[in-house]
């Protein structure tokens, strides 16, 4: 059984017939072909699939596509045009906030949510806000520094 859905991702409408059980992350990756959003676990622990769903942060492996039908999703590909970088992308680059890069899209999306709610977070607040996103390469320290720098660049302090 398939059901029709339409999800707006990064401003473009994607429609299709999907199984009711399909996870949003699979719709984003398979149907829309936007593979910046990753699948790193199967228990909503790792945060690599983090996106914005109707303006709020969501782990797209915990949302069904049918639940997201009619909604608006922003993924890492929608954060900037890929040339003029978002301040968070720029700061992750400047501060060596990534190594293998697999957690990075989710990490940046989670950081964007933090800065929306708290424009000038302390290092401790950044660490707390990112506890739902796992990175195995960086030990988190440079990620924290990157978020700090982005906060400054975006007008926080």
């Amino acid at each position: 059984m398939s059901v029709p859905v339409e999800v707006t991702i990064n401003g473009r409408a994607y429609s299709g017939e999907v199984e009711p059980r399909q996870l949003l992350v699979h719709f984003i990756r398979e149907n829309a072909g936007l593979t910046g959003t990753k699948v790193g676990c199967d228990t909503s622990q790792c945060g690599t699939c983090t996106v914005q769903l109707d303006g709020a942060i969501a782990k797209s492996c915990t949302v069904l596509t049918v639940q997201a039908s009619g909604s608006s999703v922003t993924t890492i590909e929608g954060l900037s045009n890929g040339v003029d970088l978002h301040p968070l992308q720029e700061a992750f680059w400047n501060k060596h906030g990534l190594q293998c890069g697999f957690c990075t899209p989710g990490m940046i999306m989670a950081s964007a949510e933090l800065l929306k709610n708290n424009p000038s977070p302390s290092r401790e607040e950044i660490r707390h806000a990112l506890e739902g996103n796992i990175c195995r390469c960086t030990g988190y320290q440079n990620i924290v520094s990157a978020v700090e720098e982005a906060a400054g660049a975006m007008g926080g302090s």
Binding site: D42, W93, H96, G101
Partner: protein
């Protein structure tokens, strides 16, 4: 004039594609007509397979094929063990890609379904009926080695895969004449590497040409091609292995896995591209794990604090089968490092590699060296306590004095260079050690459990001289090669056989070329990870890529410089001896306006209108670098913890690292490697460890149950460094990928034990979970 970048922390050149989500990892790749495989895995840790009925699965929607071990028999060879340790009575029982009649761990492959979609393939797995007859299970590696334990392989008595010994000096005499001896039993928990990207493979087979292409999350595409050839029978020159973007590995993507052989088999049978990607839960069952040591260890010393002897008996869990490099990890990479940073004249170790009913164990970041460093550094602390000496001072007394070109240790290896006291002093200064001890005394007076721990360590890296690799049974070489190619416009491609996957070598390699030939770093692009367009190489692991590939790039660049000099002389109508080089420009001595830039030379060499007699066109060189010795990075780390006596919870409050990895190409990347390494080393001290129940069922089967370090659990790490160049490396490099992981486990463990020392607690098994620590505190309070 080129801006010098060698030695400075420039931003990584690989990052733009990663921060924008545009970099394709294996699972992001979709081929026309591609179908999906899902693997049925054993739910039992040890059982005979009585029967398998796949008919129910075969008739499910979308299913193209179902294969079992019987289908692979005679077509796909057993998984090869590629480290055949000599002198160890090594047993290499057959390891079929899909089990035929017996399963030996939860996760052993039993069947594979290929279907149109992944959802369909996974659904169909539930319709395969397997009848099992369960057998006895053994998990603890020491238990597994005892007579009467359940036997995993019929022809491997007491599950002992190998017994390897290291000896130097007269250990028995050292212990007999010692003023003080200490002993401990140290358990290094079984660890899951947890790269954030799960493993994945895509196989595409062109039957008419007998050509196989494999996209794989491997750390070593050339080894993967070699072993794919051995296993599938497709000739090596007809196989192309591509490691696209790889999302971390930490050793777990070195081995050759049943899963990629199965995927290749399915593609070859069906004639369509097949993708297999593991789930995280599957990764926890089927991807090689690390450590799993039970170490019975002793140290001897004289009353003045001279360490005179070290003795070990180690039971190293291998899991159910010998993975690709498994036998070398607890032996060559472990036992040979028993002298640590110290002059220990008398050393003996016996290491038993033992089969147990768990996931196969292989290299995991540090591979053997964290297990060695932990036992040495724990014994040093116990010896200091027994002698009532400060642990920093006992270390200082026994450290090998500064040496610049070779130091023999009792295990028979030769360290390249070291100044261990320099890192000790730097670390103690950075941390204000005296101040920390004073604060600790004040805290203890208030009844608080504050601990200070340290490790002074040395590691064997930059793997390594191929002749040694052969002598110790590694079934490959350990050299690297590089091709440096100048295009007519003066831009450069460098092709390497190693396969960086997060370590930043697209940047550091470009910095080497820039330094050697004076081209801007942005004019150099590094190509890696595809066996069709890169030269042979043995892969990225063992803190070797920057060191060994970097050496090859330096030598290839120097060949280009020599040729450029000759061509410049010809074009400038001067003698070669009169040509000088500086910063990308060749000029006639004494007349700087008579000059050709490297870009001029690249154009003239590529158009070849005016070459000297006998000189070939083009500006390209390749070099093979086989290091004359391993490298031996070192350092001192120090941590402060406080234990909550009410809950057993440990607060890691401060951490100082001082590392010496020789010359640093990019200090920002070095520091990043230390941060990440330290956190991976803290993990097993405090949180990480696989738990099996008595039936061999993993209780830590998901990220929800296996406790990985998270951002809010960690302090910022204070990183410092010293620079002691490797005397035998063309750039003085030593490597830094594993350093933090090797140092942090004993550093943090020692800190917690130091915190608990006033209570009389001197050992708790890692990981030091609150429950275990709380119980130890309460047992001590209740009289032990």
């Amino acid at each position: 004039m080129t801006t010098r970048s060698f030695g400075s922390g420039i931003r990584r050149r690989e990052d733009p594609r990663l921060i924008t989500g545009k970099a394709p990892y294996t699972d992001d790749i979709k081929l026309p007509g591609m179908v999906h495989a899902a693997i049925l895995r054993s739910p039992h840790a040890h059982a005979n397979i009585k029967s398998i009925d796949t008919s129910g699965a075969a008739s499910q929607p979308g299913v193209l094929a179902v294969y079992t071990g019987a289908d692979l028999d005679g077509v796909i060879a057993g998984m090869p063990c590629a480290w055949l340790l000599p002198g160890s009575d090594l047993k290499t029982p057959e390891h079929p890609a899909i089990a035929k009649d017996r399963v030996r761990y939860v996760g052993d492959a039993v069947a594979v379904v290929v279907a149109g979609t992944r959802y369909e393939a996974e659904d169909a797995l539930e319709h395969i009926d397997v009848e099992y007859e369960t057998l006895g299970v053994v998990i603890n590696p020491k238990d597994a080695a005892q007579a009467g334990a359940p036997q995993l392989h019929d022809d491997v008595e007491n599950n002992i895969a190998f017994t390897w010994a290291v000896a130097g000096g007269d250990t028995d005499a050292a212990f007999a004449s010692a003023d003080v001896t200490v002993s401990d039993t140290i358990t290094l928990p079984r660890l899951i590497a947890n790269p954030m990207e799960p493993r994945s493979a895509i196989a595409s087979y062109l039957a008419a040409m007998n050509e196989l292409t494999l996209w794989s999350t491997t750390q070593n595409p050339h080894i993967c091609r070699f072993l794919t050839s051995v296993v599938t029978g497709v000739p090596e020159h007809k196989i192309r292995v591509i490691a696209p973007e790889v999302g971390g590995g930490f050793g777990s993507k070195i081995p050759y896995y049943p899963d990629e052989a199965i995927t290749a088999f399915c593609a070859m049978q069906l004639g369509v591209p097949v993708k297999w990607t593991e789930t995280r839960s599957e990764n926890y069952l089927a991807t090689t794990q690390g450590r799993d040591h039970v170490e019975e260890v002793e140290m001897a010393a004289t009353s003045d604090g001279t360490i005179t002897g070290l003795r070990t008996t180690v039971y190293a869990g291998m899991g159910a089968y010998l993975s690709t490099a498994a036998p070398g990890v607890p032996t060559i990479l472990h036992g040979l490092m028993y002298s640590g940073a110290y002059n220990i004249a008398n050393i003996s170790g016996t290491i038993h590699g033992v089969f147990n009913n768990g996931t196969p164990v292989d290299a995991y970041r540090g591979a053997g060296r964290p297990e060695a460093t932990t036992l040495i550094e724990r014994l040093v602390d116990l010896t200091a306590a027994a002698l009532d000496m400060d642990p920093a001072e006992l270390r200082r007394k026994n450290l090998i004095p500064k040496f610049e070109n070779g130091h023999d240790v009792a295990t028979g290896i030769i360290y390249d260079s070291g100044d261990y006291e320099l890192t000790l002093d730097a670390c103690l200064n950075n941390a204000d050690y005296a101040g920390l001890r004073a604060s600790q005394a004040a805290a203890r007076a208030e009844g608080r459990l504050v601990g200070i721990g340290m490790a002074t360590w040395v590691e064997i890296c930059g793997l390594g001289p191929s002749q040694v690799a052969g002598a110790v049974g590694f079934q490959g070489g350990l050299w690297e090669s590089a091709i440096v190619r100048f295009h007519p416009t003066g831009k450069v491609n460098v092709m390497v056989g190693s396969s960086p996957h997060g370590q930043g070598e697209e940047t550091t390699f470009a910095q080497i070329v820039s330094e050697e030939l004076g081209v801007p770093v942005e004019d150099v692009e590094i190509i890696h990870g595809d066996t069709d367009n890169t030269p042979m190489g043995w892969g990225t692991y063992g803190s070797r890529t920057t060191v060994v590939s970097g050496g090859a790039i330096a030598f290839a660049s120097r060949k280009i410089k020599e040729k450029s000099k000759e061509l410049a002389a010809h074009l400038l109508e001067a003698a070669v001896e009169d040509i000088e080089y500086e910063d990308g420009t060749f000029f006639v001595r004494g007349s700087a306006d008579q000059a050709k830039t490297i870009q001029d030379i690249a154009l003239m060499a590529n158009v070849a209108w005016n070459m000297p007699e006998g000189m070939e066109p083009g500006l390209e060189a390749s070099a093979f670098y086989d290091p004359p010795n391993f490298t031996y990075p070192f350092g001192t780390h120090l941590a402060v913890v406080e234990v909550d006596p009410e809950t057993g919870r440990i607060d890691l409050q401060n951490y100082w690292a001082v590392d010496d990895c020789g010359v640093q190409i990019n200090p920002m990347i070095v520091e990043g490697q230390v941060h990440g390494g330290v956190v991976q080393g803290v993990g097993p001290a405090l949180w990480e460890g696989v738990v099996y129940d008595d039936n061999g069922q993993p209780l830590t089967g998901t990220m929800q149950d296996y406790a990985l370090p998270r951002a809010d659990l960690l302090p910022d790490i204070n990183v410092g460094s010293t620079t002691t160049p490797s005397p035998h490396h063309p750039l003085g490099l030593k490597g830094v990928g594993e350093a933090g992981t090797i140092a942090a486990t004993p550093t943090v463990y020692n800190a917690v034990m130091d915190a608990l020392r006033p209570l009389g607690v001197n050992r708790v098994d890692m990981p030091l979970t609150p429950e275990k620590v709380w119980r130890a505190i309460n047992d001590a309070k209740n009289g032990g």
